[in-house]
Amino acid sequence: MLFRIKGGNTKMAEMVANRITDIGPPKYDEMWPEIIKNNYGKWLHHEILEPGVLVHVAESGDKLYTVRCGATRLMTTHMVEDYCKIADEFCGGYFRFTTRNNVEFMVTSTEKLEGLKKALAAAGNMPIGGTGHSVTNIVHTQGWVHCHTPAIDASGPVKSVMDALFDYFTSMKLPAQVRIALACCLNMCGAVHCSDIAILGVHRKPPVIEHSHLDKMCEIPTTIASCPTAAIKPSKVDDFKSVAVNADRCMYCGNCYTMCPAMPLADADGDGIAIMVGGKVSNSKCMPKFSKLAIPYIPNEPPRWESTVKAITTILEAYVSGAKRYERIGEWIERIGWERFFDVTGFEFTKRHIDDYRFAATTWRTSTQFKW
């Protein structure tokens, strides 16, 4: 890389001269424990010995025991150091994180496994579970802790929901695995759109426009082009070059705010949570599915988000009592029908449940086959 430095900024010039760039991450095999180096690509089968504890058996006969623990995703270096200490003491200095923000410690013998489990239990903040037919950790975003477009907090609702579902994390008594995800706004960094249960932050008010600053902070053509429903047009307000929003066409996606900081959406009364259900990403049995709307709006209820927790508990309990073995939530709902889903959960069916966005017609019933 070459950089052109203006003037005689020697400090900057030195910095550039010694600059290391574009090296990428450390190579993967540097991070493997010995047993993985020895058995890479040669695993035969696995078994879940108890909730949170797996054994993988290799062609060589080697056995690798894994203990999975729930983690907070948002953590401090202190917490990482706690994990490192456990890994140093029991796992030869290696451990890993899962794609759902669990932590996994791996050992090669049942003796070490027992010691590891005791140490994790003693730690008090490293619950073992999240395997098989369980609710595993909630994939989530930043919320009020760090994001600039959130409609809800992320870590708080996740903590509240996982407290309520803790028994489903530490056991494997569900009909199938249940994947919950949270995204704090419609950008969906948390990829909630294909989850068994999705907690989604939504806005309900069009952006408030700061006419006195919009022209200074935003490119007006880009801002207009950013609206997927063409609700934004140029407008002159009090001699300021600005924009106007047609509130009837706004669906509060926040894309304009991403392009233009002078159009914030956040609002204590407007913002809240939508609950969606029935999505999955796996190709197992049925094809991957999108999550569908179960509840259009729940107000923000910090600090414990009671209505959201109650809604999710209701869905999960209805699923447990109604689903057949190996049925994911989406498969269960499709079998019983959405009429029955609203019956068994007691959730109200409203006009918001009828799609009026893109491809809406593909979701309307084009048959006389339905249930009373």
Binding site: V16, H46, T76, W144, D163, A183, V281, P288, R358
Partner: protein, 423 residues
Amino acid sequence: MAIKHPTPMLDELEKGPWPSFVTDIKRAAEAGKEACADLLGQLELSYNDKEGHWKHGGIVGVLGYGGGVIGRYSDVPNLFPGVEHFHTVRVNQPASKFYKTERLREIMDIWNRRGSSMLNMHGSTGDIILLGAFTEQLEPIFAELTQKGWDLGGSGSALRTPECCLGKARCEWACIDTQDICYNLTQEYQDEMHRPAWPYKFKFKISGCPNDCVASIARSDCSIIGTWRDDIRIDQAAVAAYAGGEIPARGGAMGQGVKLDVQKDVVELCPTGCMSYEGGKLAINNRECTRCMHCINLMPKALRPGTDTGATILVGAKAPILEGAQLSSVIIPFIKMEEPYDEFKEFVANTWDWWDENGKNRERIGETIQRLGLQSYLDALGFDPVPQMVKEPRSNPYFFYTEDEVPGGFDRDIEVFRKKHAR
């Protein structure tokens, strides 16, 4: 520095059995981190206001990189000076998120000295997310990270940090070397990751089998999903052991005592009906199998993917903004995916060329394909259409023909027409 601000709302989140992020942040605040003390204060304010308190964006970064750092400023810095600047640094994670503690501590050490000591393990795209640095610390953090062999990930309209499942490291179902593919692509496309030059973001996610543990089909512009072309391997002795209850159902996913019903749970739930179980023997008509993984998931000791392995390449997944959610669509039904992955990289180059040429600002490739049609993209790739690319053929007859496809072309003489047909 200890706890600076009362946090009665957040204190409620210290109750209950799930690990508490509040307790953890308090620990760092008590150890002297002003950023953590003030973050708790600002978060408590958000819990009272029911609105966030971070300003919109902010252009910060490290020299020569267009991405990897996301600017963040408090909108109440007078109340919480420790988080006045709270920039995010994305650090490219090692494939599959395995860590050697001494290497992970290199990052923690830098972050303790120069940052807030708060982080995400990991961000939704996969990076290690260091949360909360002041602007003047960004260059030193970058210099120290690279000195230790760590680099930044992607942000902005760039290639985002590729991510993969754990693959051959610990999974018997991995049909491709997910970690090597992830590392190889990450290294190959460093420039595309660090210097945003596209209409919008582009993501690769690599899963070793159709179970798709990194949600590649839902979350990546290009999904690489391991699969196989030959027959599922069967160990009939293990099938008998499942039937007899000696091996628990689904590898113990419902507990050790749960017995598998081979007929009901495996054969009857097969989506293609390509299996039968007679006289204690399991038979699979592999030609009719769609490799969904259900039977293999249920009997990991008895069934394994075949040995002629490779990947299916799908393109175009995204969350709903703006045109609605899309899953990836099949573009290459099967590719061997062997190092150095030249065939795949040629496909990627052609894909990016087409998207660069045709994509609008902030349009994901899935949306460009939706706007211009899958055929236009396939034409650009030079790929022949195959039934594997669609769920079903179209139910309308409104084809677009090019002039050279129809005898005589589109030009006709109205006078000639009128000689036969009165006005």
